[in-house]
């Protein structure tokens, strides 16, 4: 049962993050939502490694990739925020709608 409950924790983190990423206006808050979603992926990968195939390293590598995705997402996110803020004093996704394509 621990296995399923831990996966529910991962799903919960993912859905909370998804809610935030969809509902927040500020770019920084959207990034926080994405961080939470990736946190869910990290938990799920660790749970799969531990409960399904601890002999293989695939789960661990997935955790590494997810953590790295978090770092990359944050660095690029802040770079983009800085660029758009510098260009037109905007930090809200709604004010950059013309970038929709």
């Amino acid at each position: 049962m621990t296995f399923e409950l831990l996966l529910v924790l991962a799903a919960g983190l993912f859905s909370t993050g998804l809610y935030g990423a969809l509902s927040q206006q500020s770019i920084v808050m959207i990034m926080m939502g994405i961080e939470l979603m990736t946190g869910g992926v990290v938990v799920a990968a660790a749970v799969f490694w531990s409960f399904l195939s601890p002999g293989a390293s695939g789960g661990q590598v997935l955790v590494v990739a997810a953590v790295l995705a978090m770092a990359v997402e944050m660095a690029m996110g802040f770079a983009v925020t800085t660029a758009i803020y510098r260009a037109r004093r905007v930090d809200m996704a709604d004010m950059a709608e013309d970038l929709k394509g």
Binding site: L18, Y19, Q25, L36, V64
Partner: protein
């Protein structure tokens, strides 16, 4: 999985979820950043308890640095960082709630309906060693790709975030020495 570990997982799991929910309910940006940090530190704790101490502690280390930097940017860009004047910064909450609720329901249904296979393979003696051996052997390509992704991120983020190029620093002929910088560095380039 002993009793201690189960209790630890419960505590960390509940704390992680609470922190995650607080991120989108608190007003103060500093509190938001640090509740996300608390949530991700608990995620690191869960990973540690599950038998991956290296990855768990590294997650804690990285997340502390990330969230502190994130707090700095939040306070730089958001109009109401301390939350002293509560204001709404959300759009389409109902739609977001429906979508994320549906995703959660689908995931939970999947978790309980999928016939999960039994455990294959035994736990390695040292999971850190397993990770290192795999990243440096059969997962080498993954590692190399991740390395290039990081390099591209460093270059890309710097290019996007900076306003000044080399002509601003070294002049039109690129011959101005030392460079003209808003803040002089420590080695006088």
């Amino acid at each position: 999985m002993g009793v201690t570990n189960t209790v630890l997982l419960w505590v960390l799991g509940v704390l992680a979820l609470t922190g995650g929910v607080l991120v989108f309910t608190l007003n103060s940006m500093a509190r938001v950043a640090f509740s996300l940090l608390g949530c991700l530190v608990c995620v690191g704790g869960v990973v540690t308890v599950l038998g991956l101490p290296y990855l768990g502690v590294v997650i804690v280390l990285m997340m502390v640095m990330e969230m502190v930097i994130m707090a700095v940017f939040m306070i730089a860009y958001m109009m109401n960082p301390a939350g002293l004047m509560p204001m709404s910064m959300v759009h389409n909450t109902r739609g977001a709630l429906v979508i994320s609720g549906a995703v959660l329901a689908a995931l939970v249904a999947g978790i309980f309906l999928v016939p999960w296979p039994g455990r294959t393979g035994a736990r390695p003696k040292d999971s850190t060693f397993q990770l290192g051996m795999s990243l440096m052997a059969d997962q080498m390509l993954t590692m190399v790709t991740l390395g290039f992704v990081l390099l591209a991120t460093m270059v890309g983020a710097t290019v996007l975030a900076t306003r000044r190029g080399r002509y601003d620093r070294f002049g039109d002929e690129l011959d101005r020495r030392p460079a003209e910088d808003p803040a002089g560095g420590g080695v006088g380039r």
